[in-house]
Symmetry: C2
Subunit: 284 residues, 2 copies
């Protein structure tokens, strides 16, 4: 019999819903419990110590829902907090987005030159550098922090003049010298897949974009293969959402990332600071 | 004898340093203690209940430095938390940025049509609407949330193509019908003054920009007039900075808003959640 417990997914906010969406598509019969730490987002500009503390609180809240696995659908938290989380949650399996993204980037590159687009924290932490070099130390890697992409994604300005100009400003320096230009770009932030059209507009189809949402979903599916569901068990998976602030905003904007509407009443407000996962009074 | 205690200033992050800068220029002999809640920024997308709770913790940390007044250099916190803060800190005087900004806007407009540019929370809270209408109920007010301005300011992309395009996208709808166009725009977020050149590039010199930093400094100076310093007391004012995360980043980017360099060693790391204002281990 398969393990019917849900897959726990967490992110600093709504971007991780791109990972939840990929999981939903790849594993339609699994239940998903998603937690967005919207009261404290973004993680991408915060210190490793703070991000780790927040991530530990978030995963403990997921544990209260008796999940069978935790997916860290946040590049920043995956970069700096995967080891402490795995230690804290053991023997529960913890999957981050960095390792699958790094492996997918390596599989895609033909020239051995990979670019990593991420938040400031992820770039500074260097987790993608280490993950890629672990498999192939000869890979040429160039990193670029793209802070404005997060704001563009949250504003819904994912295509058009401003997105194109921002993409050009961030990416042009990476492609100035053709012999050093990457042929593969890892989208190392869960907000960035919605900006893929703008990036493609600037770079054309000469560069492969690797989306860590799809690659992480594949890694989760792989980890779960030993628990094949029987036909009797194949019911449509349920989604449960939790946010630490602004459930209405989470539902309104989250639907864009999740790829299907989220009703405000389906988003539970939780407080990670004052008693873990205690439901608090809804904000006005 | 004058009250030699410092003026306490707080903001969700570094934007409030534009207010501290205006205070420093207007009141060169006053000491300033500044707290940026960088671990939990931005406030502008969070619920009123959460912003109020954070603001209360922040001001209590300032109180530990025995300040004589608290300036809420954050439009979002001023909009939603001024009353609970004033109640909590009484009899200490609390000054927000909304009231001075509203009054300055009313003083500047000739047509009685004012635009308010702010964060999503400030716009939704409607504090500027109420503050302006309290003095003149006939004022025509149009509000515009400009979330990307915050990211542009923090990225340092305050002028040039992208800033101009973002300004045009936010502002053009407000000026489509000349007979309804405002003649005065209140910059209702402490990040926005650095984008004034981009806004002026789009609108020309037909619109007056009201910067709440300068107007708030004037309001603070007015409140302090009764305590004239003697010549003997006129020493250069000291600055003390506190941040809840990323002191190095605070110093590096904060200097842009403060208008003078901030050394990383001059920024104290404080923890507002686990024991108020307790100094915690510096992040790596």
């Amino acid at each position: 019999m398969s393990d019917k417990r849900a897959i726990g997914v967490f992110d600093s906010g709504m971007g991780g819903l791109t990972v939840a969406r990929a999981l939903r598509e790849r594993l339609p019969h699994e239940d998903i419990v998603y937690l967005g730490d919207t009261a404290r987002l973004p993680y991408g500009t915060k210190s490793p110590a703070t991000v780790t503390a927040y991530a530990l609180q978030a995963t403990r809240a997921l544990m209260k829902h008796d999940v069978k696995m935790v997916v860290i659908a946040c590049n920043t938290a995956s970069s700096v907090a995967l080891e402490p989380l795995a230690h804290d949650l053991a023997p529960l399996q913890v999957v981050g987005v960095v390792e699958p993204g790094a492996r997918a980037g390596l599989a895609a590159t033909k020239t051995g030159r990979i670019g990593v687009l991420a938040t400031e924290s992820t770039v500074r932490g260097g987790a993608y550098l280490r993950a890629i070099r672990k498999y192939n130390p000869d890979t040429r890697i160039v990193q670029q922090a793209c802070a404005l992409f997060v704001a563009l994604a949250e504003e819904g300005w994912t295509d058009g003049e401003i997105a194109h100009a921002a993409a050009a400003r961030y990416l042009s320096p990476l492609f100035q010298t053709p012999s050093e230009a990457p042929d593969t770009l890892i989208l190392g932030c869960t907000h960035f897949p919605v900006l893929a059209p703008a990036i493609a507009h600037v770079l054309g189809d000469t560069v492969t974009l690797v989306d860590s949402a799809a690659t992480t979903a594949a890694a989760v599916a792989e980890a779960l293969t030993k628990e094949q569901m029987t036909n009797d068990e194949r019911h449509p998976g349920q989604n449960h959402f939790m946010a630490t602030d602004g459930t209405e905003r989470f539902a309104r904007l989250g639907g864009l990332f999740f790829g299907q509407p989220i009703a405000p009443e389906d988003v539970e407000l939780v407080d990670l600071q004052a008693g873990l996962s205690t439901t608090v009074q809804a904000s006005p």
